[in-house]
Symmetry: D2
Subunit: 337 residues, 4 copies
């Protein structure tokens, strides 16, 4: 039998507690050996629920524990970079939630430390682990649809987060489109130029913080393909997540999943279910699978499927989109990176 990887979770808020539960219950390849949160009682509640015996308030207490091989970081974004550096220097492998940071200098600094420490790093782009998007990826990567020509992503949240959130999130291109930039790179490859338009059309408060609630970003890829992403913070019919790669010899796309497969037919026509409410439902299995694969990479000493460079490029593209939007002109990625 293969050995199990000892892993600790730092940050047991919304996302971190999901990861902790997944590790404890659904990833037999790992042992959840400790949880940590600066709000100790939050960490204690999660630990109690999952039967985890070690609970700490200060993540540095975990770094000297030689039995811990890997650490999952799900703290606030502004702490990712310095925690990553400490963890890397302690020689532990890292799974870090996205974004790595909101400023490129911090990212570059942290990635350099990770590189020097020689530890593994995986960034939490969960959507890459969706079985339908993977099927699209396989159809594209295998050449089955020919040369990729057009990428289309529609990615719309069911309702806007609070304006408070937007104040520190980096704004729409960094808190929302970032996922789609990563998906675009995953499906088609490097992006060399973006053009972004956007506006506040559904949630007027967003204007007060200089953010957007609707946008469209066109992409030019290094391999010649063209792409377009559209985003909205408010799709009343649910969490709309569609992807399409059109190629010279066919097309590969992923439809939305529905809340259920029941249909009613009446004099007015056919009525079927809305979309799942949000990412915790739509991507539930992805959150398990991304960490499971990370654990396997640690155990078997393999490269991780989502690298630090992937984490960095998604942020770079977010900045390029903001620059394009503000200057209303196409922006080369090289202008930002």
């Amino acid at each position: 039998m293969l050995r199990r990887v000892n892993i600790a979770v730092i940050g047991t808020g919304r996302m971190g507690s999901v990861h902790a539960r997944n590790i404890a219950r659904q990833i037999p390849e790992a042992n959840l050996v400790a949880v940590c949160d600066i709000r100790l009682e939050v960490a204690q509640a999660v630990a109690a629920e999952l039967g985890v015996t070690r609970v700490v308030r200060d993540y540095r207490d975990l770094l000297t524990d030689a039995s811990i091989e890997a650490i999952l970081i799900a703290t606030n974004t502004d702490t990712h970079a310095f925690i990553m550096k400490d963890v890397a220097r302690a020689g532990k492998h890292i799974f870090c939630e996205k974004p790595l940071a909101l400023d490129l200098a911090s990212i570059d600094d942290a990635l350099a430390v990770v590189e020097q420490a020689g530890v593994k790093l995986q960034v939490g782009f969960n959507r890459r682990f969706d079985k339908s998007f993977q099927r699209v990826h396989d159809l594209v990567a295998s050449g089955e649809i020919g040369r990729p020509c057009i990428l289309r992503i529609a990615s719309r949240d069911p309702e806007p987060p609070s304006v408070e959130y937007a104040r520190t999130s980096g704004g729409m291109f960094l808190d929302m489109t970032i996922h789609d930039f990563d998906m675009a790179r995953y499906q088609v490859g490097e992006i060399v130029e973006v053009y972004a338009i956007g506006d506040v059309l559904v949630a007027p408060d967003y204007a007060t913080v200089g953010d957007l609630d609707t946008n469209i970003v066109t992409l030019k890829f290094a391999n010649g393909a063209l792409g377009v992403i559209d985003n909205s913070r408010q799709a009343v019919y649910g969490y709309d997540q569609r992807l399409e790669v059109f190629g010279s010899n066919g097309i590969a796309f992923a439809e939305n999943e529905r809340e259920n497969v029941a249909v009613k037919g009446s004099q007015d026509g056919y009525h079927s279910a809305r979309l799942p409410y949000f990412f915790m439902n739509r991507y539930a299995s992805c959150y398990v699978e991304e960490v499971r694969q990370f654990v396997e990479c640690v155990r078997d000493d393999k490269p991780t499927p989502v690298t630090g460079v992937d984490g960095r490029m998604a942020v770079v593209l977010g900045y390029a989109a903001w620059k394009s939007y503000r200057e209303n002109r196409p922006v080369k990625v090289s202008e930002v990176a």
Copy 2:
């Protein structure tokens, strides 16, 4: 250029006028040379619309016209058999609407005359000419789904005809299921036994004439396959026409066509169009194609795609279903035929 077949239409009511229009406008392989109806003014209106110069009240006036090669019979059911016989004896090829007749003796008599006259006969089972049902047929006939095991047909009208109609139609198994019996034979082959249940569930008046508005008929095929047809006289969401052949190596089925392909998404879910209202819409192209193929068979001296035996067997199965329903037991087709 290939010669065009001169054809006349007898009976220019609802169905006959559709055929007349199709021949005049959409079947370049034929010339519509005459129309006939005992209500002369009805025939005259159709003739005026289509630029047909010959209009008669008595179909026998057409039989001596050597220029007429083929005749389409769309009169009342109770006249089909004797008109067919006269037309056959006049040496003209026949396209006859279904059912051939409501009593088997008349059918057998007419078919014998047709056979002796050596003219071609095609029966108006229009659904065989639907491109989706043909695709299913091809998948079955080619062996692509393996051995046929289960046939399922759901066939439901949008609203009941008048009870007056039912009084002379032969009842549900003969006015409605007859189409499905033919489709079952077209897809899977000969039927050896049926079991029918039914009731009056949506249109209480039907009970007063001894007819049904809802039924289910199970089938045993000569090749061992099993089948089931269900019918209703009232599907409020439109004309429901679905077909499925399940085989040892796969499945072939035809979904419903929709009135349009637009969809609305709202907080309540997704809403798409109802089904086409009825057969004139759903099977519009079939009515053209069945006559076009008939004309080709006449022109090129080929066997017709729906034979007198097909017309007869559908009626036999209707009688077997009535017998089964009335005696509440499975009935062998040989008991009736």
Copy 3:
């Protein structure tokens, strides 16, 4: 906070181990306090995986433990009845896998003991807990589609179990159709008459044990509705599970779930994913939900959603179907019950 119900699992084979995992990991309302299997090492492995400390070989060792409130029975079918009786007499609530037993005498005997003991009993008809089938049920029960007229169920396994299994399973109507009989009752109500046809069309070995691999069963419901179930032991495209209730004012149906929502378009058309392989995948969430609801019923002293009568009636209908098949005639349920 609500108290958690202490539950033990008897029988930790395929189905029992799934239940044990679900209770331990996904049903916070319950504590899995003990597991039992006559193959002690099998129970021990499950216990080790789930951190359960009490493991026994003889289920009677659990009956005197006052801390155990409820017991889930997932042993071989032929042991269900006598274990149920012992558990009931010990005053513990029972979740029992289907079928309750293969002979009605045993079922009646066991149900009488359960009744007398006043303990709760839930039978493991998992499909009732599928969200899509529940949505159909709600549409029917609310009257939204009017009076139920036609029930259609297509229920086909991806591949046949071993013939050995069929030798003791009670045969197709009792090992497979039993689920559909229960679903039919859940959706439309009591069944008064059945007519069954069937054959061996895909798995010739089944003929050697007197079983079938393909069947169609028509149903007459007490409320006048008609129904039909079809089954096959081999659907090569996956586990085919479809349900439809057609009513006087509309239709409610559940489509199949797919393995994923990716689609490929090519010169040949569109290609989408096959169905989930089998019940463990398709109904994974139902196995959790049925036990979760059972636990709630125990905790809150509510009636269980699937009763002993439900368990009995599904077996009765299986016998009626066999009788109908063998005598090739419609059989009233009252002839068997």
Copy 4:
């Protein structure tokens, strides 16, 4: 009975002969009284097929015929403007195929003459008459999906026309995207700015004539909505025509129509039909409906549903897209118009 409008068709090539057939066979509101083509034999063949007695080579021969009320122009694009002017001056109403012309000066000149003559003009943007796109339009216009936020159009031809065609067509933004610009205006309203990217990815010959085979155009609408169109000259799975309007309170979209509704299920999954080959199939009913409505407008003296301004704006947007593509910057429509 309402009077029928006498109409003549000028130009009986591919598109004109379709219109002539439609008028003669499917538009009872009109009489096809004459056909005209500079290739007289082409016009004669169409006239013979349709029983039209008047055939001319020079369209000016029709202008003095007082019995002709309306003229459909389906000649080469470069002749549209001067024929329109002559026809308008003769006081006859005009249905003109798109584009009105390839240079704005000619369009403006012709529209001025039409205006002065007081005749009606309808431009042949057939897609506006598709029942699904109309349903989307109705959902948007009625406010049922709230404020329009994002328009998405995917519009892809099954295979590229000859490079010769592209040499005089105005190129991709004028021969192909022009339809989508009109659809965008029809659905959401006036466009104020465009940004276009494009490339030659599937048909290398197009590079030799300075044209594109793949493009994406983003749109800013006057009402604040954002939009995106993507085009390809080669969709191997058929003529891909999809439209989506996303609003603050829902979404309205039109899926593709399929060649048929048959589906095959096998071990590899589900296989359904490709898309219709091309516009003649996909939009067959639109070509009838647009002319039928034009005829009604003439008969009842109503404004036409697609005006000269519509025809002009689509060309303007084509030029704006070319300018944007060439200068790689967003271009205001006012820069071109």
